[in-house]
Point group: C2
Chain length 214, copies 2
DNA sequence: TCCATTTGACACTGACTAGTGTACTTTGAC
DNA sequence: GTCAAAGTACACTAGTCAGTGTCAAATGGA
């Protein structure tokens, strides 16, 4: 199992149509249920073409997983910059940031449905590739969040020993909580409940990490 | 799709052999990959017998999911009682409690592998049954943890507004964190790292909820 | 226009799998 | 020992699906 095939093949727009369709179908049906024929139909492409671009169903899946991670990581980076660059009201800014981050799950439904599929397949994915995915996706999220928190701490608004731990804790108390309850968006949750969960999570985080305890 | 079949059929030990094997195979291979023949072989039972006890592969899966949840919920209840009944050193007791709770994942590997399978299948499981599972498993965990925290708060050791939120937050900061990183035990993590994560989580929880801030 | 690359249509193989039908054997209660 | 309930062995259907072979059609650059 190779990570990526070296030589590019075929027309890029075909390849993109395939990966897009694959992301959707893998996310909707899961790896095993997803049929290559269904992906071909969804992509408006011959099945034969898929096998000219990708050697394997497995390789297609892994390619899609890695490429999607990059995409979403970039989007999350933007959300961080929008909310955490300049802080006016820390609590409100963190709440807004977390709500936007949660909303990304619904903004990229195909990708996050795929995330569920990846987590389901974890035991069947070659460890190095799984680690590559974790590194490209979730881990990068933490690594990018940590510096923002550190900078906020330097301004005297937070008291932080380990910024990576703090980033992980903020994520757990907000995004992870919601994702777990909604199964990554598979089971909807009323927006007001999402807001409540995120608000409670941010408040708990601030009680734990705010420099000036009320 | 009925929740449980009313009339009991066949010898209970056969039925148990089937459900045990099903739990293991479903957990190992996931729902779609898991073959009924494989389950029959693992159970030391004729495939025909499986279909006399259960109408469907699907019904077998759902039965196993619900029964396993009950079992593990009971085990977790014991862990709570062991560590949270009388508190001597709150931080240490919470750490020990959380470590034991995390260890339950490796103590019931078949069940928690199945949990991953359930979460993977979430979108394909009839909502009422999925909710029944959530109620029997994860939710009950929270509901049972909350009273303990409330009692600890009444003794003046914690300051808690919403005990359910507090229970959820403690769980997120410890068990969920570890489970997410290990993919429910599929990818191992050194014990020292588990201890570090849990300790950091409990400390963050206590900074957020302890009555007397240091 | 020409030609090489790419793609499509489609039939096909081989393997696997859920579920059934049936005839035979085992088990355990009485 | 009898007998009915339960289980086994095994062949079989019918469907699905990953991946391939083949050849014709489309595409696009020179």
């Amino acid at each position: 199992m190779t990570l990526r095939q070296a030589e590019p093949y075929g027309r890029p727009e075909k390849r993109q149509a395939i990966t897009r369709a694959a992301r959707r179908v893998f996310g909707r049906d899961g790896y095993t249920r997803a049929g290559v024929d269904a992906i071909a139909a969804e992509a408006g492409v011959s099945k034969r073409t898929i096998y000219r671009h990708f050697t394997d169903k497995e390789q297609l899946f892994l390619t899609v997983a890695l490429e999607g991670a990059d995409e979403v990581t970039a989007a999350i980076a933007q959300i961080m910059d929008r909310h955490l660059h300049k802080i006016v009201d820390l609590e409100q800014d963190l709440i807004d940031f977390s709500l936007d981050r949660v909303a990304a799950v619904t903004a990229f439904p195909d990708h996050f449905a795929l995330v569920r599929a990846i987590e389901a397949e974890a035991a069947h994915i070659p460890p190095p590739i799984l680690q590559a995915w974790v590194a490209a996706g979730p881990q990068t999220g933490h690594l990018r969040l940590a510096p923002y928190l550190r900078r906020i701490a330097e301004r005297g608004l937070l008291r932080i020993d380990d910024a990576d731990d703090a980033a992980a804790h903020l994520t757990l108390l907000t995004v992870t909580d919601v994702n777990q309850q909604t199964f990554y968006g598979a089971i909807p949750l009323p927006q007001e409940e999402v807001t409540r969960l995120v608000t409670a999570g941010v408040r708990a985080f601030l009680r734990s990490y705010a420099a000036s305890a009320g």
